[in-house]
C-alpha cells in the first residue's frame, strides 16, 4: 500500500490554478524530497495529502484511505515550517496534549523528548525555547504514535550541524522500519545524501520525479571531470582538444587543473583516452548534484518565480 498517491491532481484557489495534473506517490520505507521555489505548489500538495483541503480535480489516496479521515490522520506525523506552540505551556504539557489528541500513549512523551534532546528542558515553558528547541519539539510531536507517513517541512531550520546529523540518522532509522517520509527543504546539498527520490515542482506542475540517477538521465546534464596534468598542461590540453572534436565537450582551466564537461554517454571513452595518453596525474568525476538538477529543471531566474507560498 502506498503512503500516498496523487492521481492527476489539480487545485485552484478562486480562479488561480496552483497545481496542474500532479501524479506522485510515496512508497513505505522511502524518503521523498519535495522541492520547488516558494509558490511552486509544495504547501498545497502537503495540505491535500494532510486532508486540509480537497483537490479541485483528481484523486488523493493516503495510506489506502481518504485524506483527512481520522483513521488515516492518526498515522500521519507532520512538522510544519516555522512550527509554533502554546508559549505558556511546557514542552512536556504540549506533547502530552498532542499525544492525547492522537491517541498515542503518554509514556511515549518523555522518551520522545529525550530522543530529540529536550530531556532537560521538558518542564520549561516553550516561550523560553530557542527556534531550534521549538523545531525539536515539533519533530517530537510529528513522531507521536509512530507514524506510517511523516511529512517534514524544512525540518533542519534552526538546528545546529550535530542536531541536523542526528535528525537524518533518525529519519533513516524510521525509513528502515517502513515509514514513508516526505522532506521539503531549500537546503538541497544537505538533504541530497538522505533522499531516495526527488520530486521537483515549478509553477504548480511536476517538472521531474525519480531517484537521482534517473533525474540525471532526464536532465541529460554533462558529467564534470577534473583532470590534473602529470606534466605540462599544454600536452593534456592537446589530448582533450582532439577528443573535443568528436564529443563537443567543454573545457576550462581552473588554477592549473582542467575541468571538462562531458556527456554521460561519452564519459568512459574520454577517460580511457586520457588515461592512455599518460598526461594525467589525477582524475575526479563529478556527477551533477541535486542542486544542479534542480536549477536545470527550475531554470535560472528563480527569484522571478518566487511568490508567496499558499
Amino acid at each position: 500500500m502506498n503512503c500516498f498517491q496523487l492521481e492527476n491532481v489539480s487545485h485552484r484557489y478562486d480562479k488561480t490554478t496552483v497545481l496542474r495534473g500532479i501524479d506522485l506517490r510515496l512508497n513505505p520505507g522511502e524518503i521523498l524530497g519535495l522541492f520547488g521555489h516558494n509558490g511552486a505548489g509544495k504547501t498545497t500538495s502537503i495540505k491535500l495529502i494532510l486532508g486540509l483541503m480537497k483537490p479541485s480535480e483528481g484523486k488523493v489516496t493516503v495510506l489506502g484511505g481518504e485524506a483527512g479521515d481520522p483513521h488515516v490522520s492518526q498515522h500521519i506525523g507532520y512538522l510544519p515550517e516555522n512550527v509554533m506552540f502554546y508559549p505558556q505551556l511546557t514542552g512536556r504539557e504540549i506533547l502530552s496534549h498532542f499525544a492525547r489528541l492522537k491517541g498515542a500513549p503518554l509514556s511515549q512523551v518523555p522518551k520522545l523528548l529525550e530522543q530529540v534532546g529536550l530531556g532537560d528542558a521538558m518542564n520549561a515553558r516553550t516561550k523560553t525555547y530557542s527556534k531550534g528547541m521549538r523545531q525539536r519539539l515539533g519533530l517530537a510531536q510529528a513522531l507521536l504514535g509512530k507514524p506510517r507517513l511523516l511529512m517534514l517541512d524544512e525540518p533542519t531550520v534552526g538546528l545546529d550541524p550535530v542536531a541536523t546529523a542526528d535528525l537524518y540518522r533518525l529519519l533513516r532509522d524510521l525509513r528502515d522500519e517502513g515509514t514513508g517520509i516526505v522532506l521539503c527543504s531549500h537546503v538541497l546539498p544537505g538533504v541530497e545524501p538522505y533522499i531516495d527520490r526527488a520530486a521537483i515542482l515549478t509553477g504548480g506542475s511536476l517538472k521531474a520525479a525519480g531517484d537521482l540517477p534517473s533525474l540525471r538521465r532526464q536532465a541529460n546534464m554533462p558529467v564534470t571531470l577534473t583532470v590534473k596534468p602529470a606534466g605540462n598542461i599544454l600536452g593534456l590540453e592537446k589530448v582533450i582538444d582532439q577528443a573535443k572534436q568528436s564529443t563537443g565537450l567543454m573545457m576550462k582551466n581552473v588554477h592549473g587543473t582542467l575541468q571538462v564537461d562531458v556527456r554521460t554517454s561519452d564519459k568512459m571513452a574520454l577517460i580511457e583516452t586520457l588515461l592512455q595518453s599518460g598526461e594525467v596525474a589525477d582524475l575526479g568525476i563529478h556527477q551533477p548534484s541535486l542542486e544542479d538538477i534542480y536549477v536545470h529543471f527550475i531554470g535560472s531566474g528563480g527569484l522571478a518565480h518566487r511568490g508567496g507560498s499558499q
Binding site: K47, L50, G51, L52, M53, P70, H71, S73, Q74, I76, Y78, P80, N82, V83, M84, F85, Y86, Q88, H97, F98, R100, L101, K102, G103, Q141
Partner: protein, 276 residues
C-alpha cells in the same frame, strides 16, 4: 468525545494557570456580597434587605459583567489558534473542526460555570449563614435559578464570541467585534426598542412587542430572575413589556437555551467552511 474532552481539558487548565477562574470567582463573590449587604446603601440602609431585591440587583449588574467576561474568555478561541500558528497543526490531527469548537465550548463553558458556581455559591452560603431569619429554602431556589441563568447567559455570549472568532483573521478585529456585540446587546438594544416604541406612536402590534425582548438574551435573563418572584413592579423601562409575555419561566429558560444553541450552531457551520 475523547478529542473534545482533550481540547476542553486544555482550556480548563489554561483558565487555572492564568488565574481566570480564581479572578472571576472572586469578582462574582465580592459583587454578590457587596450587593447583598450594601445594595440599599443609597437609601440609607446597610445590611441584607430581601432575597428578591438582592437577586434583581445582581441580575441588573450581571447583564453588564457576564457577557463581557464571556466575550473576553472566548473571542480568540479560533482566531487565536490561527494567529499563534497552532490551528494548522491541530487540524492535521484526528480532530474535526466541529470537535475543536465543541471542545473549546466545553472548556470555556465549564470555566464560566465553575466561576459562577463558586463565586455566587459562596455568596449564597455566606448570606444563609450570616443573615438571621433568612428563608434558606427560598434563598437556595432563587440563588440556584440565578446561577443557572447566569451560566446560560454566559454560554450564549461565549457562542456569540465564537461566531466572530471563526470569521475574522486577526485577534484585534475579533476583540473589537466582541466589544461591539456587548455594546449592542447590553447598551443599545433596549434604547433602540424604547426609541422604536415611542417613534411608532402606538402603531406597533402590542402583541408583538413583548416578543421583541426575546431577541436579547440579557433581557430574557433579567426577566427570568425578576418575573420568577411574581413581582413585576421590579420591571422597569422596556423590561416592563415582559409582564405581557404569554410564556412562563419555562419559555424564558428555553429562550436563553436557544441563545446558546443557535449561535453555537452558526459558529460550527461557519467554521466548517473556513479555509485552513
Amino acid at each position: 468525545m475523547n478529542s473534545i474532552w482533550t481540547i476542553a481539558r486544555k482550556e480548563l487548565s489554561d483558565s487555572f494557570r492564568n488565574r481566570w477562574l480564581v479572578a472571576i470567582s472572586l469578582v462574582f463573590a465580592t459583587l454578590a456580597l457587596g450587593i447583598a449587604w450594601f445594595g440599599a446603601a443609597a437609601s440609607g440602609q446597610v445590611g441584607y434587605g430581601s432575597t428578591p431585591a438582592t437577586i434583581a440587583s445582581l441580575a441588573s449588574l450581571g447583564i453588564f459583567l457576564i457577557p463581557l467576561i464571556a466575550l473576553l474568555l472566548a473571542y480568540d478561541a479560533i482566531v487565536g489558534e490561527e494567529e499563534g500558528g497552532t490551528l494548522l497543526l491541530l487540524m492535521t490531527y484526528p480532530l474535526s473542526k466541529s470537535q475543536l469548537l465543541l471542545g473549546k465550548f466545553l472548556g470555556h463553558g465549564l470555566t464560566l460555570a465553575l466561576a459562577t458556581l463558586i463565586g455566587f455559591g459562596v455568596a449564597g452560603i455566606a448570606i444563609a449563614v450570616l443573615v438571621d431569619g433568612v428563608a434558606v429554602g427560598a434563598l437556595a431556589i432563587a440563588m440556584g435559578r440565578f446561577i443557572g441563568s447566569t451560566i446560560l447567559l454566559g454560554w450564549g455570549f461565549i457562542a456569540l464570541a465564537y461566531l466572530v472568532s471563526v470569521r475574522v483573521s486577526e485577534k484585534p478585529i475579533a476583540a473589537g467585534m466582541a466589544l461591539a456585540i456587548w455594546f449592542f446587546f447590553v447598551l443599545i438594544f433596549d434604547l433602540v426598542l424604547l426609541g422604536a416604541l415611542v417613534a411608532s406612536e402606538g402603531k406597533l402590534n402590542p402583541e408583538l412587542l413583548p416578543w421583541l425582548l426575546m431577541l436579547n438574551p440579557t433581557d430574557i435573563y433579567r426577566l427570568l430572575n425578576i418575573v420568577a418572584f411574581g413581582d413585576s413592579t421590579q420591571l422597569s423601562g422596556v423590561l416592563s413589556l415582559g409582564s405581557d409575555l404569554p410564556i412562563g419561566t419555562g419559555g424564558l429558560w428555553l429562550g436563553l437555551g436557544l441563545w446558546c444553541a443557535i449561535p453555537l450552531t452558526g459558529a460550527l457551520l461557519l467554521f466548517r467552511n473556513r479555509k485552513i
